[in-house]
């Protein structure tokens, strides 16, 4: 288990990691989520001993990383952003070198190397020069090195970058199978991957920890501003008049619909009440057929975007928003924009 307390890393006047505190417990998969430059890799580098923090402490199984680095590092397997490979070595030579570095007892080395290569499907490349491998295979070698000896704690920095979809699925399965007996911490900015694989998610933005919870609970925290999208065959004004009186609506917007004679209605709910029945009866009584009603639940992406953009606004810095957006339907995208507008007020 890893405990991080009040971690700070400053480069001159720039604070890369700002008072980060969290605990990573055994038997779970943790995800580090954050925009580029948020401090994920820096934090991981500090946790594995590559960098030293400006302030704060890291404890691996109770051992202080700065006081007894050799002891603490024995428990960690690390795959950095760029796999640390020696191009002139063959895969087998490299694995032997890593096994010796990690102080795996001589008798068990061959066995451990073979099992690590089996897990990452490298057996048929064991005599290839690393320089001649494709990016995907290089990534696999890096991963094999990280799981070599099956250390208690495995830290992976963007493990699936550069892999083809088949390999990504294999790596995810590998991670899931390892999670039973190990602690795994992986970082990514592919939201779908993190929410599919991780038990707990930590969102980092601008060096600060803005969320630390299970994906389900994170999505629930957005429930308060759930949105309903309706398509109603009726006149715009009539709809507005009819629906305004319903309780529990924070914000109502009516637009011209796709088909003729229909309107798109976006309702932001307020409070916990389910207003769908009230809407149904209101429309039915006014003879306004509801062609579709859709509940838009907040997804992890919404949580992520909100939390990271809030931190951005706080720091008043201009940065690019994260690019990973799974294809969404038009309506849901609209709903999202409406959500954000309302929140600005």
């Amino acid at each position: 288990m890893i405990e991080v307390k009040n971690l700070v890393k400053r480069y001159g006047s720039h604070t890369a990691v700002d008072h980060l505190s969290f605990t990573v417990e055994k038997g779970q998969i943790y995800g580090f989520l954050g925009p580029n430059g948020a401090g994920k890799s820096t934090t991981m580098n500090i946790m594995t001993g590559y960098l030293a923090p400006t302030e704060g402490e890291v404890r691996i199984n109770g051992i202080d990383l700065l006081e007894e680095p050799d002891e603490a590092k024995k428990y960690i397997g690390y795959l950095p952003e760029m796999p640390p490979l020696y191009p002139e070595m063959t895969v087998w030579e490299y694995m032997e070198f890593c096994a010796e570095l990690k102080k795996i007892p001589r008798k068990k080395r061959r066995e451990e190397i073979l099992s690590a290569m089996e897990l990452t499907k490298l057996e048929d490349r064991k005599n290839s020069l690393i320089r001649n491998l494709s990016k995907g295979y290089k990534q696999r070698v890096g991963l094999a090195q990280a799981v070599l000896g099956l250390p208690e704690i495995i830290i992976l920095d963007e493990p699936t970058v550069g892999l083809d979809p088949m390999q990504i699925i294999e790596i995810r399965d590998l991670i899931r199978s390892l999670a039973k007996n190990h602690t795994i911490l992986l970082s990514s900015h592919i939201l779908s991957e993190v929410s599919a694989v991780c038990d707990k998610i930590m969102i980092i933005s601008q060096g600060k920890l803005v969320a630390n919870d299970t994906p389900q609970r994170l999505e629930q925290t957005m429930k308060g501003v759930a949105t309903l999208n309706l398509e109603i065959r009726a006149d715009k004004k009539a709809v507005q008049r009819q629906l305004q009186s319903i309780r529990g609506i924070r914000h109502l917007s009516v637009k011209e619909g796709e088909e003729e004679g229909t309107v798109f209605v976006t309702i932001e709910e307020e409070g916990e009440e389910d207003i769908r029945e009230a809407l149904f009866y209101a429309c039915a009584n006014a003879k306004m057929p509801i062609l579709s009603m859709q509940s838009v639940k907040a997804t992890l992406e919404d949580v992520f975007l909100e939390l990271t953009s809030e931190t951005k606004k706080e720091d008043q810095r201009v940065e690019e928003s994260p690019q990973e957006a799974s294809p969404e339907e038009f309506k849901e995208t609209e709903a999202m924009e409406e959500e954000e507008d309302v929140r600005d007020l």
């Binding site: 960098l51 050799d70 950095p80 640390p84 490979l85 020696y86 070595m89 570095l101 990690k102």
Partner: protein, 288 residues
């Protein structure tokens, strides 16, 4: 440490660097040996070694340039520093690997004294002790090269930097002749050296009080010595700087037939110092 040592030695011979280093060193030494020992009939191989000292200037940078710089560039230092090995073990492993390559290049030289003796009267004592001196001097230079390599990510800068430093060391005796020996010049020279030391101290410790403190004490010492006309001020600068004449030990062994044991100890201390500072450089990078 042993893992790193093995890997480095293997790497020197998997890539061409180790072979090239040994081959060229042997070719040039062979030519010198032929000319000195067999053509002109000089009986001591030690003299040849004294003559080829300049080769270190060219070949040591080739050997050492990639030792630290490449690790940083290829990010493989991330692997090393996140494994349960200390920075000291990493540096030691690399140093011994390079010393091994040098030693392997010198192995053929073991036979030359025997060869010479079969033709006339050689001296095993002179030859083998000069060989030891030569090897240790090479190790000091390797240490310097490794330190310079640890300061940069570019192998080229490391190579050129090492070359310049070794060239300066090679020319040191001639440079010493140019230095003035008067009292006043000694005072000024010492003050300049002191300023340099304080600058380095400040940049390493960022402690201005320490740097200023050392500077003030130093200046006082110099001024007092100058005013009281202390003996050591006369030609003192030259005496001080001459301590750095590393190749002098080799000259003593190969040219004057004197084995300067204190010189060998100087070599060992310098090797230790270079390794120590390199380890500090490695650790320093973690913190900034």
């Amino acid at each position: 440490m042993f893992a790193i040592y093995k890997r480095e030695v293997k790497s020197y011979f998997d890539t061409m660097i180790g072979w090239v280093f040994i081959a060229f060193l042997m070719v040039v030494t062979g030519i010198y040996m032929y000319v000195y020992n067999f053509y002109y009939g000089f009986p001591y191989f030690g003299y040849t070694l004294y003559g080829i000292e300049f080769l270190y200037m060219i070949f040591i940078p080739i050997l050492t340039m990639r030792s630290m710089a490449e690790e940083r560039k290829g990010k493989t230092d991330q692997l090393l520093l996140t494994s349960p090995v200390s920075a000291t073990q990493i540096v030691l492993g690399k140093f011994f690997a390079m010393a091994t390559v040098l030693a392997l290049a010198l192995v053929p030289f073991f036979f030359t004294p025997i060869l010479i003796s079969s033709y006339g009267n050689g001296s095993y004592l002179i030859d083998y002790s000069t060989m030891l001196t030569f090897f240790l001097l090479g190790c000091v230079y390797i240490g310097i090269g490794m330190l310079i390599s640890s300061l940069t990510e570019s192998q080229i800068i490391a190579a050129v930097g090492t070359f310049v430093v070794l060239l300066l060391l090679h020319l040191w005796p001639s440079l010493m002749n140019l230095l003035p020996t008067s009292s006043a010049s000694t005072a000024i020279g010492m003050a300049l050296l002191l300023a340099l030391v304080c600058l380095v101290l400040h940049s390493m410790t960022k402690n201005i009080i320490l740097a200023l403190g050392v500077g003030i004490i130093g200046i006082l010492a110099i001024v007092i010595s100058y005013l009281t006309q202390a003996e050591w001020m006369d030609g003192g600068l030259v005496t001080l700087m001459s301590q750095l004449e590393l190749a002098a030990v080799l000259t003593d062994a190969g040219y004057n037939y004197i084995l300067d044991v204190s010189g060998l100890i100087l070599y060992l201390s310098l090797i230790f110092l270079m390794i120590f500072v390199t380890v500090q450089m490695m650790c320093k990078r973690r913190w900034s």
